[in-house]
Symmetry: C2
Subunit: 232 residues, 2 copies
DNA sequence: ATGACGGTTCGGCGTGCGCCGAAGGGACCC
DNA sequence: GGGTCCCTTCGGCGCACGCCGAACCGTCAT
């Protein structure tokens, strides 16, 4: 009985179109100000304040006050995973693409983007497939790094073994992509890998959104380590 | 924009206490009649009808009409996983346990139960741990069967390899238990394993609910295959 | 045929909640 | 200090939705 009200209360946080749009925007993993979010989802600042209160009280969002700004972001990776999981129940949006500007932006997003803290889009899925083909990842019987996969991350990409297995978060887990309808690597391994590729400038952000692209340097460097498919 | 309304619409289905209670009841994986559900959650039959309509239209539930009865159950395993995932965000309910009857029922549930179509509770977690210790399951770098684990299921427990890798559902996946706060085996492997243990009468249902127990026969048989921990 | 039963449809009631604009309070800049 | 900016609180409006009881419709029993 009480369990049901907890579940209902949690679901109610996402059951409003405005709050849902806020959470989807925050899936980029970055901190937004209250005003930015209000403008992005198209409501008055006062309305946004109320929504943010509820989301923070419900534990989905975390806030950081700084001067006269109030930054807000997803409380932790499990929240991002929850929202991705829920979103995955809908088919890929064919993207109406009204103008050339939106069309190319949509195409860039489908090509590669960050999904909270790891890589998604064709880039994320392609990388995951390449790692699977190389025997680094086991996708057939679940979703886990193989022993060689773990060694590859620490030796070739110089990720810290300690950071990889920190906390309760699983090292490797699948995250269902809403455009590709395919699993891609998430978990701490996915997050660390994404960070390393960005740090190395093998992958770079396009503009200020979630879209990313493989740089020429990244293409050659990764090509030496894996059999990369053609990522358009 | 449209994506947000989809997400909100899906969440709205679970955002009502009555519908949430219905879904939690259906987590036992069985088909309930509309009247049973109405009585269980404490609303009038007419109210239940409306809720069931929405849940079915939203794709969370599937119906099967039979004579003057209308049976309803969760549409597919991904729905069960979704609800379990959401529920896992709350701590374990300490179970107020008003009377002896409820206390023992709660204890039985914590000891072992089915979670939609696989085993949970201490039994499910213990079995998962034993399989991990035996090198059948990799929990450290994700959640996947090892090659020997796959062979064990087909050779020792005579599960059909074809059935194991049928459809889009992953063979092995972790499901977070709300009493133990630990992962246990789900996915087709978890479902097939549960079915086999019930068929063998190594595990038996207690009464008509979700509670199950290890039978003496099951204890000796499984003890030959694994290093089973003490399951109280 | 008659009645019991499970489920559904419909109308009506109450309320919870999402929205806004106006007014107020800190933080920052000059 | 004055002005600007970001955010918040408050009051009020209106819609959406959850609830029930009454009436109705098949199905199954006797």
């Amino acid at each position: 009985m009480n369990r049901a009200s907890d579940l209902a209360a949690l679901a109610a946080l996402l059951a409003d179109q405005t709050r849902a749009a806020m959470c989807l925007a925050l899936l980029d993993g970055r901190a937004w100000t209250a005003g930015e979010l209000a403008a992005h989802v198209g409501v008055a600042p006062s309305t946004a304040t109320g929504h943010l209160h509820r989301l923070i009280d419900g534990g989905l969002l975390a806030e950081r006050r700084q001067g006269r700004h109030r930054y807000v972001q997803l409380a932790d990776p499990t929240v991002a995973h929850l929202i991705e999981d829920l979103s995955a129940r809908f088919g890929p949006r064919p993207a109406p693409a009204r103008g050339l500007r939106e069309a190319t932006a949509g195409a860039a997003l489908r090509r590669g983007r960050t999904c909270y803290d790891h890589l998604a889009g064709r880039l994320g899925v392609g990388l995951t497939d390449a790692m699977t083909a190389a025997g680094l990842l086991d996708q057939a019987n679940g979703f886990a790094l193989t022993a060689t996969g773990l060694a590859w991350l620490t030796d070739e990409l110089e990720l810290s073994p300690d950071e990889l297995r920190s906390g309760r978060r699983p090292v490797a887990r699948g995250c269902l992509d809403w455009t590709e309808r395919r699993q891609h690597l998430a978990g701490t391994a996915g997050a660390q890998l994404c960070r390393r590729l960005l740090d190395n400038r093998w992958v770079a952000r396009i503009g200020s959104g979630r879209a990313v692209r493989l740089t020429p340097a990244g293409k050659t460097a990764l090509g030496r380590l894996l059999e990369l498919p053609d990522l358009d």
